[in-house]
């Protein structure tokens, strides 16, 4: 089992003929992912690593019954690519681009909700259920099928923790990057619930950051809805206060945006707190 994807997931790669798209398609295929189609406007008819390329997502969906999409396109094209996938009947879309404008992200997420589509990103490495399906860019060396569910706002932070897990002989059920924000369709709370319901997952690593208030909502979910152990690592304890956005930032979020307030809330919710990846591994050994 895994969350959000399965062996039945039929992956479509947007921007498959680009440098990154082509490289990551090869990696996803090697991982055993069912990549059924690629899309690059104007390149319909081409073939990349044996995968047929179409001009439009709807053509690809009609031909190949693709049901999940990952886009390797630049920030300026992210909105168009995501909306095209959403309108073509894709059920689950991953938007990897970083630096996507907030307005474009609002459009993507709202269109997704109105159409009943789930989205990871923008600014996400995607997700991987090691051995089952890789709809993302996580480095292969840090992946191993196992029982730990990992959810992270930051791609690199999840790689770092996954590296330590694998080096300690531990594996992952799914590793999910929800995206760097500041807007999300699926957030930490959604993933915690999915991991709680996933039989393969025995413990969850929650990777948080300074900024926003998402970890406070996650703490509430941990306290009220979960009985699986959660190990939380929130980075940015020693970061200086970032620039506030006018008075609105303070009014909206108050003092809850600091790493320390998040760690306190997670601790109070029953999560085990780690200060670095080695402590994550120690906690996991303690609970298994």
């Amino acid at each position: 089992m895994s969350v959000l994807v399965s062996r039945q997931t039929r992956v479509l790669v947007q921007g498959i003929t680009g440098k990154v798209g082509e490289y990551q398609t090869a990696v996803m295929l090697k991982h055993g992912t069912t990549v059924v189609a690629g899309v690059t406007p104007g390149k319909g008819g081409a073939v990349v690593h044996g995968v047929p390329v179409y001009d439009f997502v709807r053509e690809a969906v009609e031909d190949t019954e693709a049901n999940a999409a990952i886009a390797f396109v630049p920030a300026v094209s992210a909105r168009g690519a995501a909306l095209e996938a959403i309108s073509a009947g894709i059920e689950f879309a991953v938007v990897t681009a970083s630096n996507v404008p907030v307005r474009d992200t609002m459009d993507i997420l709202n269109a997704a909700r109105a159409n009943g589509v789930r989205v990871l990103g923008p600014d996400t490495p995607g997700l991987v259920a090691p051995g089952l399906c890789k709809l993302g860019v996580h480095p292969e060396r840090f992946l191993r099928m196992g029982t730990v569910g990992v959810v992270s706002r930051s791609g690199a932070l999840s790689y770092e923790v996954c590296k330590h897990l694998v080096e300690a002989g531990l594996g992952q059920s799914s590793v999910v990057g929800i995206g760097g924000g500041p807007l999300w369709d699926l957030d930490q709370s959604d993933l915690l619930r999915l991991f709680q319901a996933d039989p393969q997952t025995e413990a969850i690593v929650l990777l948080g950051e300074v900024g926003g208030t998402m970890e406070h909502r996650a703490a509430k979910v941990i306290r009220e809805e979960m009985n699986k152990p959660v190990i939380a690592l929130v980075v940015g304890r020693s970061a200086p206060h970032g620039r506030k956005m006018g008075h609105a930032g303070a009014i909206i979020s108050g003092p809850d945006e600091t790493a320390v307030s998040k760690i306190d809330a997670l601790k109070a919710s029953g999560a085990l707190i780690a200060r670095n990846p080695l402590e994550v591994v120690d906690h996991l050994r303690g609970v298994s």
């Binding site: 990154v20 490289y23 990551q24 681009a97 970083s98 630096n99 996507v100 404008p101 907030v102 307005r103 474009d104 992200t105 609002m106 709202n110 109105a114 600014d123 490495p125 993302g136 860019v137 480095p139 060396r141 840090f142 992270s152 930051s154 791609g155 690199a156 932070l157 999840s158 790689y159 770092e160 590296k163 760097g180 924000g181 500041p182 807007l183 369709d185 990777l207 950051e209 300074v210 926003g212 980075v235 940015g236 304890r237 020693s238 970061a239 200086p240 206060h241 620039r243 956005m245 006018g246 008075h247 609105a248 930032g249 303070a250 009014i251 909206i252 108050g254 670095n276 990846p277 080695l278």
Partner: protein, 379 residues
């Protein structure tokens, strides 16, 4: 990018939001012809301008010259003041707070309104949360009529003047790809509403949609040189890099926010002090790395450079090439610790090797080395 008050007000005025009559001056010579009494307002980007003496009420041209010469000569809040906005004095029956920003949970614009405005609004809002109301735009239909009516009732404002104003603020928010449009205070004078102050924060990621505007804004910008912050704690963003100047002697460069903050915490936990924090964008490569390394090497306070890389979308051979580029021709070279792993890590190590460089695989080890080197250098 945060606009200056005078820039924000110009945009608001063009979109039908009433603002005070005002004149922008950059020398004392223009002050004689203006009408008094007036407000003299230093054009700086920092919050807390009012408390710091950047907004002065003057009764006549003599007083205006005194206030202006002080501000132009001495600056404010550590920033140079090159422009002053001299505005008519508006008699306000009440001062309110009104802002549009994006709500992260719902992914829609949210209007935040307070029945009191002014410099202490955050403090007041946290103490008396009842006075602050939020109205969320609908994802399909935008700001609803019922929401506007609700705000007008909550703020006890005349609907006829409030409705177009709040709709115009939402229009500006969307049209300009803003992160924040804030009017504080919003003055009620009789039945009229006037934006006494205005703040607009643009979404730098959307600059591609507003090329003319962003180019123009950059031209009038008088802040510190792009890509470098000398003020401690100040954030500067250049394409692909976020840089923060801190109060230590280790220059930390990472290829993602999460791993950068983790490394920062680990350095601090190990007793080290980071003095320069650069984070490459998630998809950054050779050029951004070279640029970030340049910033670190040019800073005489930095005793050690710690590069913390773990590649997903970013290829390590690209970044490694950027390191080699950045070191080329560098005058002085502090001790360098490179931690590198992830996508195309073998190719990356090969690139470093050919330039006579090496890297470690483990982050704990890299942090430990950097802290020890910094302590050795300090002694």
């Amino acid at each position: 990018m945060q606009l200056f008050e005078f820039q924000a007000k110009k945009i608001l005025e063009e979109h039908g939001v009433p603002i005070p009559d005002g004149t922008l001056v950059s020398t004392l010579s223009g002050l004689r012809d203006l009408r008094y009494p007036a407000m003299v307002k230093a054009q700086v980007r920092s919050g807390g301008r009012g408390k710091a003496g950047g907004v002065v009420r003057v009764g006549d041209a003599d007083q205006a010259e005194i206030a202006a010469s002080g501000l132009l000569a001495e600056g404010l809040l550590g920033q140079r003041v090159s422009k002053l906005l001299v505005e008519e004095v508006i008699r306000a029956d009440r001062e309110l707070y009104l802002a549009v920003t994006c709500d992260g949970l719902r992914a829609v614009p949210v209007i935040i309104a307070g029945s009191k405005g002014g410099v202490e609004v955050e403090k007041w809002a946290q103490e008396a949360h009842d006075g602050v109301v939020r109205v969320y735009c609908d994802p399909v239909c935008g700001l609803l009529d019922s929401g506007v009516h609700f705000l007008a009732k909550a703020l006890s404002l005349p609907y006829a003047s409030f409705a177009p104003l709040v709709r115009n603020l939402v229009d500006v928010f969307l049209l300009y790809d803003a992160m924040l449009v804030e009017v504080n205070p919003l003055a009620l004078s009789g039945d009229s509403l006037v934006a006494l102050d205005a703040k607009i924060e643009l979404d730098d990621n959307a600059a591609f949609r507003h090329v003319t505007l962003h180019t123009h804004l950059a031209a009038v910008d008088t802040a510190s040189p792009a890509g470098r912050s000398t003020e401690v704690g100040k954030v500067a963003v250049v394409p692909g890099i976020t840089h923060i100047r801190l109060d230590g002697e280790i220059a930390l460069i990472s290829d993602g926010a999460g791993t950068g903050l983790l490394t920062l915490d680990m350095v601090t936990d190990a007793g080290g002090r980071v003095g320069s924090f650069s984070e490459l964008g998630a998809a950054a490569g050779r050029e951004a790395m070279c640029h970030a390394l340049g910033i670190a090497l040019e800073d005489p306070q930095m005793k050690v450079v710690l590069i913390s890389l773990i590649g997903g979308l970013t290829r390590m051979d690209d970044v490694a090439a950027g390191i080699v580029d950045g070191l080329e021709g560098a005058a002085s070279l502090p001790p360098l610790v490179i931690r590198m792993c992830g996508t195309a890590e073998e190719e990356g190590r090969q690139v470093l090797c050919e330039a006579g460089l090496s890297s470690v695989d483990d982050l704990h080890e890299a942090v430990c080395r950097a802290v020890l080197l910094a302590q050795g250098a300090g002694q």
